[in-house]
Symmetry: C2
Subunit: 346 residues, 2 copies
């Protein structure tokens, strides 16, 4: 297996990206292709004591870099020599099995959709991070910001795609798919939720997915469902609220432990538990966010990824390549298409 890594994307590029990718290559016996400025990559590796490229690690030269200020819609034209565009083209052409980038989310989504393409029949690719849960293997949040404004059909497809992802990547036999809403009754929410509920219910009744109804935001981390279906706007609010509140609570905890000598001693006693909490909430352990709905796996690593986070993202890319969710989607696409006359787009 071979993973293509965009070495020039992210706050800590190229050093942390290159080092993390090499770590992954050594640890997981996977081949990696480092896409970016060859000179710069070799120099940074040398600076970190890596004199020659380890076995299974290659460099593919690309001089350009996608900037956070680039307009995502035009980077195929304005940044065609960039590590992101070149890497995605290599993925499309079969030079590797999956692609990892810590670059701009908007640019990556736009370029990946244009180059790698969506599975035929899929209306929108979705950004699908996995949230930690109190019980179980985590919950797939789909979509979390790729498409702010959605139609019921988009959400129906997210339900299927998330279900395949939870089964193949999280190992959940019969994933519970729920619709993010502001109450449990089927009359809750806006027109979008009401219409989507009916589509998901039909798919559930037909046995295509295991639709369990609406879920309130409160229940997500308590493992009430394995797949949380949402439009990109609400999903992003959910994800960012979880992140913000977790950070907030962690900072209150820090304050609690820093009060005096005794509380610091308390922190010492609790260090294993503190580490457990950190691991549970830490994206550096869990990898990046998958773009689901494309023909091949594309993983968005966190913008502030360090080497450890990139290593995890490469591992996740390997799993995604093995899982091949796009095959599941393609095989079932007729079950998740809404006839034009039934589709009431908002």
């Amino acid at each position: 297996m071979r993973i293509i890594v965009d070495v020039m994307g992210g706050d800590n590029a190229p050093d942390a990206i290159a080092l993390g990718a090499i770590q992954a290559a050594e640890e997981f016996s996977v081949e990696v292709i480092l896409v970016g400025r060859g000179e710069a990559i070799l120099q940074c590796l040398k600076a970190h004591g890596v004199q020659t490229l380890p076995k299974g690690v290659e460099i593919a030269n690309a001089e350009g870099v996608v900037d956070m200020h680039d307009d995502p819609a035009t980077i195929l034209k304005t940044r065609k020599d960039s590590s992101m565009v070149v890497g995605l083209q290599m993925l499309r052409d079969g030079a590797g099995d999956a692609f990892v980038s810590a670059g701009s989310t908007g640019a990556l989504l736009s370029a990946a959709t244009l180059i790698v393409k969506r599975v035929k029949g899929i209306r929108r690719a979705a950004l699908s991070p996995v949230a930690p849960t109190k019980t179980g293997n985590g919950a797939v949040l789909i979509d979390c910001g790729a498409t702010a404004e959605c139609t019921p059909e988009f959400l129906l497809q997210f339900g299927f795609m998330g279900s395949y992802y939870a089964r193949r990547m999280l190992g959940v036999e019969n994933p519970r798919v729920a619709l993010l809403n502001i109450g449990e009754e089927d009359t809750k929410g806006c027109a979008l939720q009401k219409q989507t509920y009916q589509l998901l219910k039909k798919a559930g009744d037909a046995g295509y997915i295991n639709f369990t109804g609406n879920i309130e935001a409160r229940g997500v981390l308590f493992g009430e469902a394995d797949v949380i279906v949402a439009d990109g706007f609400s999903g992003n609010i959910l994800l960012k609220s979880i992140e913000g509140t977790a950070l907030f609570m962690s900072s209150l905890m820090k304050d609690m432990f820093k009060r005096n000598v005794l509380t610091m001693l308390g922190a010492l006693f609790c260090r294993k538990g503190i580490q457990n909490i950190k691991n549970k909430m830490d994206y550096r352990e869990t990898g990046g966010t998958a773009f689901i709905g494309l023909t091949k796996p594309v993983i968005k690593a966190h913008g502030s990824s360090d080497a450890r986070a990139i290593r995890s993202a490469v591992r996740q890319a390997m799993q995604a390549a093995q899982a091949d969710i796009s095959a599941d989607i393609a095989a079932n696409i007729d079950k998740m298409t809404v006839p034009k006359e039934l589709e009431h787009a908002e």
Copy 2:
């Protein structure tokens, strides 16, 4: 000052509600009117050792009770003898200065809007809880679920109303009003957010409010704004995610402290800090959720309110009656109305 309390609403009615209201009457020297089944109230007070009604506490008899399963739209007809409807009518007629209920949110919103009425020109009343913040006095989240589907004009009015609330109730001189969105740039979000951004910006430029731009969900608890403007759907997702994640983190903390004898000792050392965190996240200390935009103050107490929570809600109702935000709103209503031809409702 006199506060009207719906004694029959909420999971712990009537006991906890009556006791909490009496506590408030004694502690804050305020008059309270307990609306509900007179016999039941007297009996429950006796059972808790209260033999006669304290000075300043009255009972107003109402035999009916609004049920969680009642259709909010029809309770004025089907539950006209209920404590909720009778209490709201007393508020309208000037028998008291504010109303507190822990009953069904939907029923309360519907009945309050029909009986107490919105301030003239206000399109929708909003549910506006105050979230704790790392720095500062908390953030007003407006709306959090009263109106799932909103227009830009609703949101513009929420910006003004939230600003008055933050100034009068939280004591913030020049409240920073921000729009909940999935990025900071003014092109982010759905059509609703893009249009609302322009309206709020105009109001900010005119000096009517202190509009500071978009805010991501991540920044809410870190005090990046004093007023968070959102449609009821997104606002509810935000609120419930915060609640859920705080509960989740608390349960992880509990696990951390319960590992062994040493960690339990650690918990003992940290008990002050633990109490601080609890207080920060505890609605029983901060009171209920205000309905903003009505002609008189209506406070929704948490459904699971105990006596302490009701006591806090009565205190909040007193403050709201004193603050008289509806006067601010009425005096400025012409600044927050969008001419029909400029209003692009979704």
